[in-house]
């Protein structure tokens, strides 16, 4: 099975305190730790487990610049066969639809049975997979938390729905699935593994090579644009305790007793 996984390099929200830059038009990016978007990493692991069962190849693709190459190397160290960095100055400022249009151009050049994305990235939009599927006229499922290969033509999948329940469906190939975290346990990648793939060539197709209409991508093609970032003044917020740890514990216990939380 030929599997394509669409991945993205993002600031790791579990490792960073995100704050605004001085003008408010972006977050402060100087000290940020970047990593592969967590759901995308689960998608790559899932693809690797599928080809281990039924054979095939895994290609990991991202849209970006040279800084983004590091996540492709990381996913190749996990076992992905190919890494592809789609890069063109015309792509800067693309909205979700623009990114999906670029990926569609890449998919059209290949012959993929299955396309995986992570369920969402750091912007929480959860949009590119569903858009790409619609552009390709492929079936789509979001929030996928298990995949079983039924035969060469279809899969049995489950989606995470409310209350921890699972919605089971059958889906025809080729299709696009957005993968939820927790579907598997992604393998560990060490520095040695990344060094081992350091010299494997990475293709870098541009807009012309993928026959992407420059008017449909980048800032010109974007119908949705971010104006600024801000930190909202939300309600009253928590009363922050700033005593010593011992004082804070005493205060918490006192409050818990008042709220009926102590035996």
């Amino acid at each position: 099975m030929e599997i394509l996984v669409c991945a993205r390099r993002v600031p790791d929200t579990s490792e960073n305190e995100i704050s605004l830059n001085s003008t408010g038009n972006d977050i402060e990016r100087d000290e940020l730790i970047y990593s592969v978007n967590e759901p995308d990493n689960y998608a790559v692991e899932e693809a690797l487990q599928i080809v281990a069962r039924v054979g095939g190849k895994v290609t990991v693709v991202t849209v970006g610049g040279e800084d983004d190459e590091e996540i492709l190397r990381r996913e190749m160290a996990m076992g992905a066969t190919h890494g592809v960095l789609i890069s063109d100055p015309a792509f800067a400022g693309s909205d979700g639809r623009g990114i999906a249009a670029i990926l569609k151009g890449f998919v059209a050049k290949g012959n993929y049975d299955l396309i995986l994305t992570g369920v969402q990235a750091e912007d929480g939009a959860a949009q590119v997979g569903g858009m790409l599927a619609a552009m390709l006229d492929y079936p789509f499922a979001s929030l996928v938390n298990s995949i079983e290969i039924l035969d060469g033509k279809k899969l049995k999948i489950s989606r995470e729905i409310e209350g921890g329940n699972r919605e089971i469906s059958e889906i025809d190939l080729p299709c696009v699935l957005s993968i939820q975290t927790g579907i598997n346990e992604p393998r560990y990648v060490g520095m040695r593994g990344i060094r081992a793939v350091a010299s494997v060539p990475i293709a870098t197709p541009d807009a012309a090579e993928l026959a992407v209409d420059p008017g449909s991508v980048g800032e010109v093609g974007a119908k949705v644009t971010r104006v600024d970032y801000f930190v909202p003044a939300l309600g009253k917020g928590a009363e922050m305790l700033s005593g010593s740890r011992e004082e804070n514990i005493d205060k918490v216990l006192e409050l818990m007793a008042a709220k009926g939380g102590l035996k």
Binding site: S19, I168, K263
Partner: protein, 328 residues
């Protein structure tokens, strides 16, 4: 201004809570809007739903089809494309169904797409500015959406106050005949209900709830020891279940359990909205997190910036001391 539609979900003959919220969003986009409800389904329960909705919406478009009995996003997309006028604004809840439906619908309608909005701050004939959150809720963003050729917008559940207006005598318009036969590449088979775990976190008055800040499986015991001295249970947020440190039945959130404790100790939990959606009944929330920017501090009653791996054991010891004193 474009015509505004709201896709209304329903289950077991009951209208989803999002219906009134989407109506409020429509009025916020355009105070003069006369929003239309879109409802799909099959059988007598669909008529019950339409009847309930026409007290809020001046017009309810009903699409009845046997293969829409279960809400399959691909089939519903195809049905909506047959009935929606060009340039419409379509509102959908940002839940597991909306995530399935809305992005693809926007492509097929060739409309702008904005997801998971929390507010609408500006509007004009062809553009609006909305509020979204990024980076797990650590910062918000104003986003401008050009809706000159329409827009599909998903709305965060609970973000908009339901509007309260006098009941209407709206009309139900049956659009079923415009839809025709529908087929999809994805076919629903069944729903598997979540397994009950050994510990029922929904029955506890006090929850010691842990998130990514617990760092590794061996540290879960720290939270369990505190829970033991408190007579509480240990619950958690999504990353703890993803890492297989606790079973799924311990997870609080929209894809986990809904809990109603009196006291909720959020330990090393960032406070993503999907997690907060599982905390009901207005408990007293005490948040302990190393990151002073963690969104949990916006909703907690008491906040402490500290490392839970040190804070929790000291708290456990303190309670043990108090208990041994009172036992003497």
């Amino acid at each position: 201004m474009a015509r505004i539609f709201a896709y209304i979900g329903h289950r077991n003959g009951i209208v989803d809570d999002s219906a009134m919220e989407l109506f409020a969003v429509a009025r916020k986009i355009d105070p003069a809007a006369s929003p239309t409800a879109l409802v799909t389904g099959w059988g007598a329960s669909l008529d019950t739903i339409c009847d309930a909705l026409r007290t809020t919406f001046p017009e309810v478009w009903k699409i009845a089809s046997e293969n829409l009995a279960y809400p399959n996003a691909e089939l519903i997309r195809k049905a909506l494309m047959k009935v929606l006028p060009p340039g419409s604004i379509v509102l959908v809840p940002h839940d597991h169904f909306g995530i399935d439906l809305a992005p693809g619908l926007s492509i097929k309608l060739n409309e702008a797409f904005v997801s998971d909005i929390l507010d609408v701050t500006e509007r004009s004939g062809t553009a609006m500015t909305v509020v979204r959150q990024e980076f797990g809720g650590q910062v918000s963003a104003h986003v401008r959406c050009d809706h000159s050729s329409g827009a599909v917008i998903t709305v965060r559940p609970g973000a908009f106050k339901p509007s309260s207006s006098a009941p209407l005598a709206g009309v139900v318009v049956d659009k079923s005949s415009e839809v025709g036969p529908l087929a999809a590449g994805r076919r629903y088979l069944q729903t598997v209900v979540a397994e009950a775990g050994e510990v029922d976190i929904t029955k506890h008055n006090v929850l010691v709830s842990i998130g990514r800040g617990i760092q590794e499986k061996d540290n879960v015991g720290i939270a369990q020891e505190l829970a033991d001295v408190l007579g509480a249970a240990v619950s958690c947020s999504r990353p703890v279940v993803d890492a297989k440190w606790l079973e799924k039945s311990r997870q609080v959130g929209s894809s986990g359990k809904t809990v109603k404790p009196k006291v909720y100790l959020a330990c090393g939990i960032s406070g993503a909205f999907q997690h907060l959606a599982g905390i009901k009944g207005n408990p007293f929330i005490i948040a302990i997190n190393k990151n002073p920017k963690a969104p949990i501090f916006q909703v907690a009653d008491i906040g402490i910036v500290d490392d839970i791996l040190e804070f929790l054991p000291e708290m456990t010891n303190k309670i043990r001391e108090m208990q041994s004193v009172s036992a003497k």
